[in-house]
């Protein structure tokens, strides 16, 4: 669905460099710290900003639904205004569907959007992306700044859409737990580069973070360690063969397998 070949975009503070392929029918997540390059990547993919080098292929924008962080249609509009605009913009715009979503989420049609709460604005932005039967969704931090209940609602909306339309989703976030419950595939981006690309299932079942004292670390088999981070208690070690360590070192402490636990070790630790 999306094919990126050696994209390069330089700024003063960092350079974005990556190649990736987003296959059809898969939910791909991109996680990274603030300023890692997620929004830059998305804007480059959509052709909003120029790139220095590289080739990007995406489907026709009529088939793409987009959520960008911190922007959208003017907030001086009402939802009804937005409907008139979208009707002239997207060939397959589904007004009834948008109305039913708004009803479901208590979104008023005739009030200016700038009077909405943050959660409501976020839901509206997603709804707009989902109401023209898009085959590809590109969502840049759709759940940023939202409370946990609203985030859950939004993720459910996306799961529903995926089930009905079997589309492709590319979603970015700095909230790893959201991506864990949604994505099939994950990229970790840092300082403009992809540090890791793995299936979510593998990350959650085979990866783990070992916590060992300095002494135990000396005698530890380091063959299956990817990255090591020095800690006050000793070392945190990232491995992609959790089973090996849990079987051969039965007393070893293996952290909960969450992306949030892996990221510090991966990004701040020393690669092996």
């Amino acid at each position: 669905m999306i094919h990126i070949d050696h994209l390069k975009k330089s700024y003063d503070s960092f350079t974005l460099e990556c190649s990736l392929d987003i296959p059809k029918g898969v939910i791909t997540g991109i996680v990274g710290m603030n300023g890692a390059g997620k929004s830059t990547l998305f804007k480059s993919i959509l052709g909003i900003n120029l790139i220095d080098e590289g080739d990007i292929q995406i489907p026709d924008k009529q088939d793409i639904g987009v959520v960008l962080s911190e922007t959208g249609l003017s907030e001086f509009f009402t939802v009804s205004d937005m409907i008139s605009i979208l009707k002239c913009t997207y060939k397959r715009f589904d007004e009834d569907l948008l109305n039913s979503y708004c009803q479901r989420f208590d979104i008023p049609l005739d009030k200016k959007v700038r009077t909405f709460s943050t959660g409501m604005k976020a839901k509206l932005n997603i709804i707009i992306a989902l109401t023209h039967h898009a085959q590809l969704l590109i969502l840049d931090e759709p759940t940023a700044g939202l409370d946990v209940l609203t985030r859950d609602e939004i993720l459910d909306i996306l799961r529903d859409y995926m089930e009905k339309e079997n589309c492709t989703i590319l979603i970015s976030s700095h909230i790893s737990s959201d991506l864990e419950s949604l994505c099939d595939d994950l990229y970790i981006i840092d300082h403009g580069h992809m540090m890791m690309h793995e299936e979510m299932d593998t990350l959650l079942s085979l990866y783990g973070v070992l916590k060992v004292s300095k002494e135990d670390y000396e005698s530890l088999d380091k063959d299956y360690l990817l990255s090591v981070l020095e800690e006050p208690f000793g070392y945190s070690c990232l491995t992609n063969e959790r089973q090996f360590y849990s079987e051969n070192y039965p007393t070893i402490v293996i952290e909960q397998n969450h992306i949030d636990t892996m990221i510090p070790v991966l990004l701040k630790g020393e690669r092996l």
């Binding site: 804007k43 959509l46 052709g47 909003i48 900003n49 120029l50 026709d60 924008k61 009529q62 793409i64 987009v66 960008l68 911190e70 922007t71 959208g72 249609l73 003017s74 907030e75 001086f76 509009f77 205004d81 008139s84 605009i85 979208l86 002239c88 913009t89 997207y90 590109i138």
Partner: protein, 201 residues
């Protein structure tokens, strides 16, 4: 592009109070027998104000970035904006023209008012690329300085230019001015497209 027109028209609709107020002031001025040139220039430049409001809406929260995520190209955005700008300015001018012509119309008034319209277009040609490049706030300052410079240049050369112009009839002068306006608009459009393509949103 249709969506872009719709967007700007809806935003125009929301400024209806402002528009009505301007027209009312215009009517009052006409009733008070203010000069036709003054009324014409007033309404024309108020029209350009509406045009720049549309840019403000597009840049308030970086809405422009989102517009380009939709099926709109930067070229379409430019074309729509210029058509919108010229149309809104023309209609504002037309309202003034109709109001002043109701009482008093001759060749001189027509030519002078056309000159006002063309000046409005020149103003747009200069300001649109500047606004796209620097944003609304900075643009206001820049344009103010440019206009001041232009004014000084014209003022200093006024007498000599004035003598030169008196050799030609009104028709020819307005014809030359129209040509200048066309050239200015084309240069302006090309610059805007170039600036927009390079712009980081």
């Amino acid at each position: 592009m249709k969506g872009l027109f719709k967007k700007d028209l809806l935003l125009l609709k929301s400024q209806i109070k402002y528009i009505v107020m301007i027209v009312v002031i215009c009517l009052i001025m006409a009733y008070a027998n203010s000069g036709f040139a003054y009324i014409s220039s007033y309404l024309t430049f108020m029209g350009t104000g509406l045009v720049f409001n549309s840019f403000s809406y597009d840049m308030y929260h970086n809405e422009m970035a989102y517009l380009f995520a939709l099926p709109f190209s930067k070229k379409e955005y430019c074309i729509e904006k210029y058509i919108y700008a010229l149309t809104v300015t023309f209609i504002s001018w037309l309202i003034a023209f109709l109001i002043t012509s109701a009482t008093h119309i001759n060749l001189e008034t027509v030519i002078v008012q056309l000159a006002m319209l063309f000046s409005g277009f020149i103003y747009l040609s200069i300001t649109i690329p500047v606004v796209i490049r620097y944003g609304r706030e900075k643009a206001t300052i820049i344009v103010l300085m440019l206009v001041l410079l232009l004014f000084l240049a014209v003022a200093s050369g006024a007498t000599s230019v004035g003598m030169l112009m008196s050799n030609f009839s009104g028709f020819i002068l307005i014809g030359i001015y129209a040509f200048i306006v066309l050239a200015a608009l084309i240069i302006s459009y090309r610059s805007t497209i170039s600036i927009l393509n390079d712009k980081e949103l």
